[in-house]
């Protein structure tokens, strides 16, 4: 058995695409070798990548496929041989199977005698298969953005392929990818190793051979190296820590082949700029890590991850160069900050008329007016329910919320939209409540984010998103399938999350208020998002969520409480039986409906004893369950419903619901309908999956 190495040498691949491509190449190569019976399923495989290469090392590859035999079955024997002579049918089959007519066998099958043939297949050599199949797998890799580079555009790939190494142990596999013939040579670090080829003696020595050429091909190893180097560089500043940033660690890991880290400094005066701006400049524009002091505040330092290793002189040069660029960026940011201050937010409302929110709808000025309407309605609704809030501050925040779109700083750092407005509001003395509400208007940005802490911020965030969703649905821009260019799902997720995690006494329908469209499209959309929240964020089982939302899907926190109660009781034996019984009731009612049977009143005839017993028990239980539901003691209510089990079981054992007698049948149907309705207010138990 041999090791198979495949390395695709590329011009620098975008960092954001490397991890997925590395994983996909591994999957493809493993699948290919497995499909071709060249490895055992548990064969060890390792993948590697750097900006300039994707590689896979597969162990335990067979030199060739095992020879195999295949049994083919052809026409019926009596059709194939007439009086011992092969007919045309026999000859055609023999030809197709690739055997002589004399080699055909008689096969007994349950359907009678048939002609069979044993076909021997000689296993193909691994090298031959790899040469034919690997190029297809490589060129089949998915890339978010492709290019072509060869004349005639024979293929598209992320960047030009510049070399290929393909080896089975020490032997080159003669394959070709995008016009490049594979060899046993790789390339090392551009600067530290230079242009000389890195000759690989055997597949297994790949990672070590490249390490000698100043390339760490293992992604986890580079990531670890970077983390340690960041720690080490930060230790030179007493009490300091670098700001954890997983995403940035991944980016720089995929931007380097031989990472090292330097610590640089900037002038203290820049710390007067908001931390958000400083960190964004460092992270997004320069890919630097921010450093904080023991007090958690930003320190005047930065950490840059280099793709090289230099002596002390080089380090000084690089530190100096990076610091100069950062200083220029900060200067720019300060220029914008000062420039923006000359026109306070309040004076910017008018200019929102020139910023389009949505072509068919209007400008951000229009949106601001609409947001104000929704904010007023929401404020009125929560005040009625006794929530204390600073309504003037909320409305001021709603009025100014979008004005930062006209500032230079937001044009430069669009990701800081909202935050910048909040910071300006604070600097312009508009008060903490207004500033914080503007600052937080886009939180939670993702489902993991926390919601705004204060009521005003929560309401502003709700108003803005509700307005957007309703307006977009109004002009037929509802998300469809995977298409959601305006991120309405994310907006709706945030609405659900704010309602679920704040103390706001608002139902979804209250929140949507007059703004909701009449056709129920919006409420259906929100219900879907609520279902997503309960399942994917809160982790409730899908059937529990289905059951709970079938009963009611308007009050988010109530739905959560009911889902919790249902989760707690669902596995009880009695409860499972009740769920099964309710499912049965639903089925019977459905069948009855299909057959046109009338649902009568259980009072209309004398019921069977078991039916009457069920009716009595249900009648006795109903007020108690209703009282418990009223006080939201859902678990107790559900436990009480579960006590119905014996009477329900007996009822179904003894009573034929669909009785031949129309009056009895009608009364029975009326009874089970009453039970179903009476006890489905907390959850529709028939949705629960029982084993």
């Amino acid at each position: 058995m041999a090791d198979f190495l495949l390395e695709i040498g590329l011009e620098e691949v975008p960092a954001r695409m490397i991890a997925a491509a590395e994983a996909e190449l591994l999957t493809r190569v493993r699948a290919l070798l497995t499909r071709e019976r060249l490895v055992v399923p548990e064969a060890k495989a390792t993948s590697y990548s750097t900006p300039r290469r994707l590689a896979v090392l597969m162990e335990g590859v067979l030199a060739a496929q095992a020879d195999s035999e295949e049994k083919l079955t052809g026409p019926a024997w009596k059709v194939a041989f007439k009086e011992g002579t092969a007919t045309a049918a026999a000859q055609a089959f023999a030809k197709k199977a690739g055997v002589a007519v004399e080699a055909l066998e008689k096969v007994e099958t349950p359907k009678g005698e048939y002609v069979g043939a044993t076909v021997k297949r000689v296993g193909r050599a691994a090298a031959e298969i790899l040469a034919a199949e690997v190029p297809k797998e490589v060129l089949g890799l998915y890339w978010a953005k492709n290019m072509y580079w060869r004349a005639g555009k024979p293929e598209r790939f992320v960047r030009p392929v510049r070399w290929v190494a393909a080896m089975l142990d020490a032997a080159v596999v003669p394959l070709e990818v995008a016009g490049i013939a594979a060899g046993n040579a790789s390339r090392g670090h551009r600067v530290l190793h230079g242009d000389a080829a890195v000759v690989l003696e055997k597949a297994a020595g790949y990672a070590e051979a490249l390490r000698a050429a100043k390339v760490v091909v293992s992604v986890p190893e580079r990531r670890e190296r970077i983390r340690k180097a960041l720690d080490k560089a930060t230790r030179t500043v007493a009490g300091a820590r670098w700001r954890e940033d997983h995403e940035l660690v991944e980016t720089v890991t995929h931007l380097t082949e031989w990472p090292t880290v330097i610590l640089g400094a900037f002038e203290r005066e820049y710390l007067e700029l908001p931390e958000e701006v400083l960190v964004t400049v460092m992270r997004d524009h320069q890919k630097y890590f921010a450093v904080e002091g023991a007090d958690g505040k930003l320190a005047p330092h930065f950490l840059a991850v280099l793709n090289t290793e230099v002596d002390a002189e080089g380090e000084a040069i690089i530190r100096h160069g990076n610091a100069r660029v950062l200083r220029a960026r900060f200067k720019d940011a300060r220029f914008f900050w000062d420039f923006d201050q000359k026109t306070p937010l309040a004076e910017r409302v008018e200019s929102l008329k020139h910023v389009t929110f949505q072509k068919e709808l209007g400008s951000y000025y229009w949106k601001t007016l609409e947001n104000l309407k929704v904010a007023r309605e929401l404020a009125a609704a929560v005040k009625t329910a006794g929530v204390k809030l600073d309504e003037a501050a909320l409305l001021k925040a709603a009025e100014l919320a979008k004005t930062d779109l006209t500032t230079e700083l937001v044009k430069e750092f669009t990701e800081l939209q909202g935050m910048i407005g909040g910071l300006y509001a604070r600097a312009q003395g508009l008060g903490e409540t207004v500033a914080k509400a503007i600052y937080d208007q886009y939180t939670p940005a993702s489902i993991e984010d926390a919601i705004p802490q204060k009521v005003e911020g929560q309401l502003l965030g709700l108003a803005d998103r509700i307005q957007t969703i309703v307006a977009m649905f109004g002009i037929g821009n509802a998300p469809t399938g995977s298409k959601d260019p305006l991120a309405l799902r994310r907006a709706a997720n945030a609405i659900v999350k704010i309602l679920a995690e704040s103390g706001l006494p608002l139902r979804l329908s209250d929140a949507m208020g007059a703004a909701a469209s009449k056709d129920g499209q919006v409420s259906e959309f929100l219900r879907e998002r609520l279902s997503f929240y309960l399942k994917d964020v809160r982790g409730f089982a899908y059937d529990v969520v289905g059951a709970v939302l079938a009963a009611e899907a308007d009050d988010v926190r109530d739905a959560m409480a009911r889902a919790e109660a249902l989760t707690a009781v669902r596995d009880g034996e009695d409860f499972a039986a009740i769920s099964a019984a309710f499912k049965r009731i639903k089925n019977i009612l459905r069948q009855a409906g299909e057959k046109g049977f009338k649902v009568g009143s259980p009072k209309s005839v004398k019921l069977a004893a078991e039916a009457q017993a069920l009716r009595d028990a249900a009648a006795a239980l109903a007020p108690k369950v209703a009282a418990l539901r009223q006080e939201r003691s859902y678990e107790e209510a559900l436990a009480l419903i579960a006590t119905l089990r014996p009477v329900v079981d007996t009822f179904f054992d003894k009573v034929m619901v669909l009785d031949a007698d129309e009056a009895v049948r009608g009364a029975n149907l009326g009874l089970i309908d009453e039970v179903l309705r009476g006890f489905s207010g907390i959850a529709d138990f028939s949705e629960i999956v029982t084993s």
């Binding site: 975008p14 030009p160 793709n307 080089g314 690089i318 100069r324 020139h354």
Partner: protein, 286 residues
């Protein structure tokens, strides 16, 4: 070969005909030129040490690119005095597009010690047409590179020339500061919006007229090749460039609302793409 910069206002070296038109068609071409590039909205009255209304791009077109184009590029850095062993260099994804020219490519911004010194693009489409062969477009930011090499914090401190006898220095600021200041004032404060629109419309009308005739002529199979070749498409393109610059001025002046923007870019695109199409036909007729 080396070319002179184009003598009409452009926003980037790509827009000069030496790039925009030469990349079309199958004919190999290699050219370099230092192109002053105007971006009215980037003006900062000469107060910002890193932003300019007009900067200079050294633009290099390699059609088709050699296979070792990246290595050759690195050698070019060494040639201007950057010892790569003492610096940190990265190729970071940065794709380029000029929607009004129907042009785009994929590539990198080349980062040297955290400074973007070059935009490196594999040009894929121009004038809405696939390029075959495609080309490498290397755009060196000359002011940045000079400031880097001379280790000065402000572009205006770059030493432009030195008198070999007296050692007296002329700086970038000496040469260009007043231009930055005055054009910032013009672009942001003084430019007459109505007249700019009138100029725009006028240049557009003339370009459209030429394009209409070009369209008929290039489609006419019976028209003699000579007739096609002498048709002034280069002039039509220059008119399109005028429109593009006027649009940038109007934009800096705050006179283009977001809603209007798309429409105006569409108008410029119609001209630029129209010229590119006709130019490709004209070349094919030769």
């Amino acid at each position: 070969m080396l070319q002179q910069p184009y003598d009409t206002e452009v926003g980037a070296g790509t827009m000069a005909p030496e790039t925009f038109l030469r990349v079309l068609g199958p004919k190999p071409y290699r050219v370099g030129y230092a192109q002053p590039s105007r971006r009215p909205a980037d003006g900062r009255y000469g107060e910002n040490p890193n932003r300019l209304f007009k900067h200079t791009q050294f633009q290099l077109i390699l059609k088709p690119p050699p296979v070792n184009v990246q290595e050759q590029y690195l050698e070019s850095l060494e040639a201007i005095g950057i010892d790569l062993k003492k610096h940190d260099l990265k190729f970071e994804e940065d794709n380029w597009e000029w929607p009004a020219g129907g042009a785009w490519g994929v590539g990198w911004q080349v980062m040297l010690d955290g400074l973007e010194i070059t935009q490196f693009t594999y040009f894929q489409q121009c004038g809405g047409m696939d390029l075959d062969p495609m080309c490498a477009e290397l755009t060196y930011g000359l002011e940045r590179i000079a400031a880097f090499l001379q280790d000065v914090d402000s572009i205006y401190e770059i030493e432009w020339a030195r008198n070999p006898e007296t050692g007296a220095v002329v700086t970038y600021g000496d040469v260009r500061l007043s231009e930055e200041l005055q054009f910032s004032v013009y672009n942001f404060e003084e430019a007459d919006v109505e007249r700019l629109w009138a100029h725009f419309n006028s240049y557009e009308a003339e370009a459209q007229g030429l394009l209409e005739r070009a369209g008929k002529l290039m489609a006419d199979e019976k028209a003699p090749a000579k007739e096609k070749q002498r048709f002034p498409l280069l002039a039509a393109y220059e008119l399109a460039l005028k429109c593009s610059n006027l649009f940038n001025l109007l934009d800096a002046r705050g006179a283009v609302s977001v809603t209007e923007r798309v429409g105006v870019i569409g108008r410029i695109r119609a001209l630029a793409v129209g010229v590119a199409r006709a130019y490709a036909q004209q070349q094919a007729a030769a």
